[in-house]
Amino acid sequence: MAFSDDVRRIRAIVWKDLTTERRSKAGFNSVASLGVTILVLFGLALGPDGKALHDAAAGALWLAILFAGVLAFNRSYQVELDGGALEALLLYPGARWAIFAGKLIANLIFVTLMLVIVVAVGIVLFSVDVPATWPRIVLIMMLGVVGIVSLGTFYAAMSSRSRAREVLLPLLLYPMLIPVLLAAMSATKALLFGDVMNEAGAWMQMLVIFDVIFLVATFLAFEYVIEV
């Protein structure tokens, strides 16, 4: 009974956040465009040598997702704060973690959609040959995105309500995400080059471990962060 209420609450928040995004579109369009722009800039910094671009494709892709994603996380709370809606959200009866879960899932969908666009552009710009093991790359991308979004949604709950939110979120978030980035970049790169050293599996394990630890930690800590 109580749990099904929480699920309904989560679904309502996800639906609300995504509807806001769908109706305005400006947010998603600008964030996705920024992701593509960052890829272009990486191309300019690393190119025009085709091999160098090809070697750096995995790293550039993940950094583009990270840099653009950060904007999405602050937005997700900023929209609430502008209308004074976060207080109202907190006043509704029910568990606080449901708010976090709702925002987390909405951000996951948002970043995944952006990822599809950025990856498609990246394949073209960096002349990536999609390997036969592409389902594993998709899996790694999902695991990486879960890590980035869970910590991003968590830290944005603080940074969006502080002074200097633009600088504070990346400052807090980027050092924390180093294991995710290293693992995701290395695994993606390994798979793009045929995984000759058989290392992608180990990196995938690390992603799973990171995701589980920080999903649990952020769900536990969110209560303390949102109540004040």
Binding site: S162, V167, L168, L172, Y174, S186, F214, Y224
Partner: protein, 237 residues
């Protein structure tokens, strides 16, 4: 919730002056002793002396961050603002020693390895830890409300501490999958004695620094409470 009255905990226990003097004199003694008694290293020469400041600084930096973790957990558990102030003081001192570790390591690395920086697991993890705590201190300076500041920075401190072993593991893998790192050699007792002496001296210094900083933080908070109360036309503190 925080106490309405600034003197609920009474005035902080001041760090005794003798402890400061003891820490300082012990530090001077340990430095002189270790530099004088240790012979020039076969490979590194007198560069080896850097070990007596670099390694203890690294140890106390990690120790100070351990204090941040424990104090943050205690703060979330008991909502005792003294734990928050202890965590903040410890994070400041820890960041100082962490920065010192990095700079001293670079000064040693340049003549020894020929480069200022190497992306090995220990260096990179120390740098990441430093960055995490720079973020922690930045967060504290950007949040006005003391209770909010306490809760938020405790969460950041705990998550940051959890991440340290994971960062270490990931960098280790990243390195070993590409290039093998040389193994540290065993330490001869001549050097070990000086090292342990300096670790003790640095630990004493760190305790003194944190204590002093904590004392100041307590007075700052008491002043904030008093100003708040005065603004509300409250009690005569």
């Amino acid at each position: 919730m925080f106490p309405a009255h600034p003197n609920q905990f009474g005035p902080p226990k001041p760090a005794p002056a003798w402890l400061g003097w003891l820490a300082f004199l012990f530090f001077v003694f340990a430095q002189v002793f270790s530099v004088v008694t240790s012979p020039a290293d076969a490979m590194m020469g007198h560069l080896q002396k850097n070990m007596y400041v670099h390694v203890p600084a690294a140890w106390v930096a990690f120790g100070a961050f351990g204090v941040v973790l424990v104090a943050s957990l205690y703060f979330l558990w008991r909502d005792d603002e003294r734990a928050d102030l202890l965590a903040a003081s410890s994070a400041e001192v820890g960041s100082l020693f962490c920065g010192l570790t990095l700079v001293l390591g670079m000064l040693w690395g340049r003549p020894t390895w020929g480069v200022w920086w190497s992306w090995d697991a220990r260096l990179t993890t120390t740098l990441v830890l430093f960055l995490i705590f720079v973020g922690y201190l930045a967060l504290r300076s950007f949040v006005e409300d003391p209770h909010r500041r306490g809760q938020w920075s405790a969460a950041v401190g705990i998550l940051g501490a959890i991440n340290v072993p994971i960062v270490w593991m990931s960098v280790q893998w990243w390195r070993t999958l590409h290039q093998i790192q040389s193994n540290p050699r065993g330490l001869s007792p001549v050097y070990l004695r000086g090292l342990l002496l300096n670790v003790a001296a640095f630990t004493l210094l760190t305790i003194w620094f944190i204590w002093r900083r904590y004392e100041a933080a307590r007075y700052e908070r008491a002043a904030e409470h008093a100003a708040q109360a005065a603004a509300l036309g409250g009690y005569n503190a």
